[in-house]
């Protein structure tokens, strides 16, 4: 008889207690540690490195030396960076300003229409399932100035001055930024409609009954009851939409390459990071831009999380 088996047969209490203690606490580490390890290695570590690289300069041939705010100074004196940041914000704001009212009107109609709501929903949601790369390839041709779908249709209805769309880098309503915004609204409409629809369906019907008793017309009750009741939905869409737009990359990259052609008019902040870090191997500048990007997203996410997302998530059961 080995000592171990002797002790276990003579004193079952110790083993049972150990087992209970193991089950009580230690076993949970068996659950938490594997995902924790993955998160530390693939999220925590590279994030820390991004912060580290932003304040160090890589010395050719290995090693690095402390650079303080040097790379951030390079960043804020780089007009390309400001251009990319400006584009990202401009495109994001234009997107939200157009898509939220549009989605609200369409969703309100979808909510009331008695026939065909399901196929309509499926159609509006279709681009959401299509990768933004495929959408960008498609719209690259839709916006083609000579024979593209859009200009072809405009010519067919008698428009003579056909816009250049993606070939025109100016800040105008028919330039590349406008085209990129049309593309984004077209692609994102389904998601916004679906979320507004969910918001509409959560409005208690007695509010409408009360409005009807007060003699409100359908349009009046939409304006005075529906829209104010959708406030949380709008906040949710503005915040998540902003975060999403700040990280815009694949469609713009497909349209204009890492430089956001034409004339950098479509370069977003993520494309700037990609171009500096991956194409140009200037890791410190890319890291500085990544840190600034992180800060911007952090501000938006903090508002989102504590103000709204917490409640939104807890609704999912």
């Amino acid at each position: 008889m080995t000592p171990e088996s002797a002790s276990s047969s003579h004193d079952p209490g110790v083993v049972a207690r150990l087992r209970r203690a193991f089950r009580g606490t230690l076993v949970w580490y068996g659950f938490v540690l594997p995902p924790l390890f993955l998160i530390l290695v693939f999220i925590g570590y590279p994030t820390a490195i991004a912060f580290e690289q932003s304040v160090f300069t890589q010395v050719p041939g290995g090693g690095q030396k402390f650079a303080g705010t040097f790379h951030f100074e390079r960043l804020i004196t780089d007009r390309v960076f400001w251009g990319a940041l400006g584009n990202t914000i401009l495109l994001g704001v234009a997107f939200l300003v157009i898509i939220i009212p549009l989605a609200t009107i369409l969703a309100s109609m979808l909510n009331r229409v008695r026939r065909g709501a399901t196929p309509l929903k499926v159609i509006y949601f279709l681009p959401q399932l299509t990768s933004s790369v495929a959408i960008a390839i498609m719209f690259n041709y839709v916006f083609q100035p000579d024979w593209g779908l859009l200009n072809g249709a405009l010519r067919a209805i008698g428009v003579n001055q056909l816009p250049l769309w993606l070939a025109d880098p100016r800040y105008d309503l028919t330039g590349s930024r406008a085209a990129a915004t049309i593309l984004a609204v077209w692609a994102g409409l389904g998601y916004f409609i679906i979320i507004v629809l969910a918001g509409l369906q959560a409005i208690p019907t007695d509010l409408y009954d009360a409005a009807a008793i007060d003699g409100a017309s359908p349009l009046q009750s939409w304006w005075y009851v529906t829209l104010p009741s959708l406030r949380p939905t709008f906040i949710f869409l503005i915040i998540t939409g902003s975060i999403d737009q700040l990280a815009r990359f694949s469609d713009l990259w497909t349209l204009g390459g890492p430089g956001g052609s034409p004339a950098r008019s479509l370069q977003s902040i993520v494309m700037y990071i990609f171009q500096q870090g991956f194409v140009g191997s200037d890791f410190s500048l890319a890291a500085a831009a990544a840190v600034v990007f992180f800060m911007i997203v952090l501000v938006v996410t903090t508002i989102a999380f504590w103000g709204f997302l917490r409640r939104e998530f807890s609704a999912v059961r």
């Binding site: 606490t25 076993v27 949970w28 580490y29 068996g30 659950f31 938490v32 594997p34 995902p35 924790l36 993955l38 998160i39 693939f42 999220i43 925590g44 590279p46 994030t47 369409l106 109609m109 229409v113 065909g116 309509l120 499926v122 509006y124 949601f125 279709l126 959401q128 990768s131 933004s132 960008a136 390839i137 498609m138 719209f139 690259n140 041709y141 083609q144 024979w147 779908l149 249709a153 077209w186 389904g190 679906i194 629809l197 359908p218 949710f236 998540t240 990280a247 694949s250 497909t254 993520v270 990071i273 870090g277 991956f278 890291a287 990544a290 997203v297 996410t301 999380f305 998530f313 059961r317």
Partner: protein, 290 residues
């Protein structure tokens, strides 16, 4: 008009419902909108089926190919090993989704039902990852993959996405809603903690797991940024990545580029048409854009 119609006697026979005008108006507006959503797809399909599209395009767009031919598809499949790309995408999406569900459920179970030191600290740490956009860490992560010699392997495409704060949070929420009595009863029967997790908890979480799976599939399938960074070997390209790179180089061959795009999105759209109820429900319930 409306005012006068409302007090009409109830016995009056109506051929049309009283709101037929607003119903018709809304239907027309919605179907016009739907037309604009569909028409680029139709035009893409038409153009991809037209052999002439590579040389000259009609000045007035046509929604029916003037010269139907599969020529562009032949060129597209010659240029791009589309089956291989699909296989790669399936491997990457399948492995990341299975892993993501598994590891997020593991952590979610511990945070929902477990009692152990540093539980809340660790949970906050998991949640903190929600605040770190992928774009912040992508360049260091890419360098790290190079250091451990994983670039141009499936591992580089899979490992970074096996666990995350969002999934952990969603699973913890769901598992918290499962009564403790159920878990305690199984414990009294002598089931191990992992057995309880695997045979009792997970089956009860099926709706949330489905939601998380759908969201994750959409995320990973459409991702192009990370594959562009870590894989330069064309035999490892995913569908989206192959399309992005090929779409660029085929820029002047309209028909071929659009045929490639159709091959890349067609099967996804067909799958969506079958699963649309679940897909839309998942997006609504999680509030997350796919």
């Amino acid at each position: 008009m409306e005012q006068r119609l409302t007090p009409a006697p109830k016995t009056r026979f109506r051929l049309l419902p009283h709101d037929w005008r607003s119903q018709t108006g809304m239907s027309i507006a919605l179907w016009i909108g739907a037309f604009f959503m569909i028409v680029p797809f139709v035009w893409m399909l038409t153009t991809s089926l037209s052999r002439k599209a590579d040389v000259s395009m009609p000045r007035t767009p046509s929604l029916w190919p003037p010269d139907p031919s599969l020529f562009n598809y032949k060129i597209a499949t010659d240029n791009l090993p589309i089956i291989r790309l699909y296989l790669n995408s399936l491997i990457v999406v399948g492995a990341t989704t299975a892993g993501y569900l598994f590891f997020c459920s593991l952590a979610g179970y511990a945070f929902a039902k477990g009692r152990f030191p540093f539980k809340s600290t660790l949970f906050v740490l998991f949640l903190a990852t929600l605040f770190i956009p992928f774009e912040t860490r992508m360049i260091p992560l890419y360098l790290f993959m190079g250091q451990v010699h994983l670039t141009n392997t499936y591992f580089a495409l899979i490992l970074p996405f096996l666990a995350g704060g969002f999934g952990t949070f969603l699973m913890r929420q769901t598992i918290s809603g499962i009564p403790d009595e159920l878990v305690d009863a199984a414990r009294i029967d002598g089931a191990s903690e992992f057995r309880i997790f695997w045979t009792i908890i997970l089956p009860l979480c099926r709706p949330t797991l489905a939601t998380l799976a759908i969201i994750n599939v959409i995320w990973r399938w459409n991702d192009v940024l990370w594959p562009l960074l870590v894989t330069s070997d064309s035999s490892l390209y995913t569908v989206t990545q192959g399309l992005a790179l090929e779409g660029h180089s085929q820029g002047t061959y309209t028909g071929v580029a659009l045929a490639t795009a159709v091959l890349a999105i067609g099967p996804v759209i067909v799958a969506y048409l079958f699963l649309q109820r679940y897909v839309i429900r998942s997006v609504v319930s999680s509030g997350v854009k796919g």
